[in-house]
Symmetry: C2
Subunit: 217 residues, 2 copies
C-alpha cells in the first residue's frame, strides 16, 4: 500500500472524530468572515411609504450600513399585532419593490403572531401585522418573517471558495458560547462578505458587529 493511500485513510478516520478538516488543509484567512447583526426592521415599497409618511416622501439617512447603498433611515414605525405593539421600529433604505418586516423570534409572542421563517426578498402568506406611520396605516400579510441566517459574498470570492448563490454552509463562532450555525445560505452579488445574523442569534453566541467567525465548507 502506498504511503499516500494510508495517509488518506488516517485523515478520513480522524476527520470523522473531529468533524473538520486537518489544520493547514485550507487557506484559513479566506474562511474568516465578520458578523453583521440585524435588529427587527422594516423595508418599505413606494406605495406604502406614501401611505405611512405622505405622498412622495423621501427617507432621511441616519447612518450608512456596511453594504454599499444601504442605510438606516431616521424614520421609524409602530408595528402592531393582535396581542401587542412595538414602537420605534427602524426603517432600512433604499425602497424595495415590496414591503417586508423582519422580526426577531423573541418579538412574536408579544405581538401575538406565529413565528414564520423566510428568506429576505421572498414573499409568502404569513401572519398579519399593522404598520403605523405619522400619516397612515398599512396592513401587511405577505412579507412578515424571521429572516434566515445568510452570508452576503462577492461573486468572485464565492467562486474562489467553490461556492455559488444558494449553496448552504456552516459557520463556527468562537468563545465561551461557541456554536456552529448550520444551513447558512450563500447570497452572491456586489456585496462585502458578511455573515448576517439577527439579535437572537448574536446573543446566543455572544458575537457583536464585526466579530470574526469561521466558515466550514
Amino acid at each position: 500500500m502506498a504511503i499516500q493511500e494510508l495517509e488518506e485513510i488516517v485523515t478520513r478516520v480522524v476527520s470523522g472524530y473531529l468533524g473538520q478538516r486537518p489544520a493547514g488543509s485550507e487557506d484559513k484567512s479566506s474562511l474568516q468572515i465578520p458578523v453583521g447583526i440585524s435588529n427587527r426592521h422594516v423595508h418599505l415599497c413606494r406605495r406604502d411609504i406614501d401611505i405611512l409618511f405622505g405622498e412622495g416622501y423621501e427617507m432621511q439617512v441616519q447612518r450608512d450600513l456596511s453594504q454599499k447603498g444601504y442605510f438606516a433611515a431616521k424614520e421609524t414605525l409602530v408595528i402592531a399585532g393582535p396581542k401587542g405593539a412595538i414602537a420605534r421600529v427602524r426603517i432600512l433604505g433604499p425602497l424595495r419593490a415590496h414591503t417586508q418586516v423582519e422580526l426577531l423570534a423573541s418579538d412574536c409572542p408579544g405581538l401575538g403572531i406565529e413565528v414564520r421563517y423566510g428568506n429576505s426578498g421572498e414573499l409568502a402568506p404569513g401572519p398579519q401585522l399593522t404598520l403605523i406611520g405619522p400619516k397612515g396605516t398599512v396592513v401587511n400579510q405577505e412579507g412578515i418573517m424571521i429572516a434566515l441566517r445568510h452570508i452576503h459574498m462577492q461573486t468572485e470570492h464565492a467562486k474562489n471558495l467553490g461556492l455559488k448563490d444558494g449553496d448552504q454552509i456552516s459557520v463556527k463562532t468562537h468563545g465561551e458560547r461557541a456554536l456552529v450555525f448550520s444551513n447558512v445560505k450563500i447570497r452572491t452579488g456586489e456585496f462585502n462578505t458578511e455573515l448576517h445574523l439577527d439579535m437572537d442569534e448574536a446573543n446566543a453566541c455572544g458575537v457583536k458587529n464585526g466579530t470574526i467567525t469561521t466558515m466550514i465548507i
Copy 2:
C-alpha cells in the same frame, strides 16, 4: 492487508487516544435529549427574601419545574441597573445559599450592565443590580450572570455514555435554524436529563420546551 482491516485498526488506535467514538457510530436513542428553556429569573437566599418580602416569608408555588423539587414562585421582583429596569422577574424556588440573578444577554444593554457569563452556583464579582421587592431592596454584585448552557443528567445515564460531571460536549438542534451548540457542560446528579438553554439560545435555533436535540459525544 485489506483496506477495511486497516481502517478498523486505525479507528481502534485513534479511539484509544481520544476516548470517544467517531461521529455517527453511536446508539442514537441514548443521545436524544429534550430542551428546557429558561427566561431571566432570580434565586434568593433566606437573608434576601427576608429583606425583600419580610421576615420569615415563604414563597408560594406557581408551578413545578421539570427538575424534582424546583418550582416557579408566584412572587416576582423588579431588577434595576444604571440604565433601566425590568419588572415581573420570576423567582425560582427553593431558596439557595446565595442569591443569583440569571439574565438574558439581550437584557444587559437595557439595564446598562456588561454581559458576564457564568456557571449557575458559582459566585464571582460582576456587574451590580438592585432587586426591589414589596418590603425592601437588595443590591447584589456577586451572582449576576448569563448562565452558560448545560445538561442536567442522571449520574447513571452519564456513566453509561462515558461522561462525568464537568465534561463538555456538543448538542445538535434540528430544523430550518439548526445549529450545533459547543461547550455544553455536563452536570450530573438526581436530575431528569435535559439540555438547559436560555431564551436567546432557544430563539436562535427555534426550539421550544421539550424539543428533542441530539448530543454529539
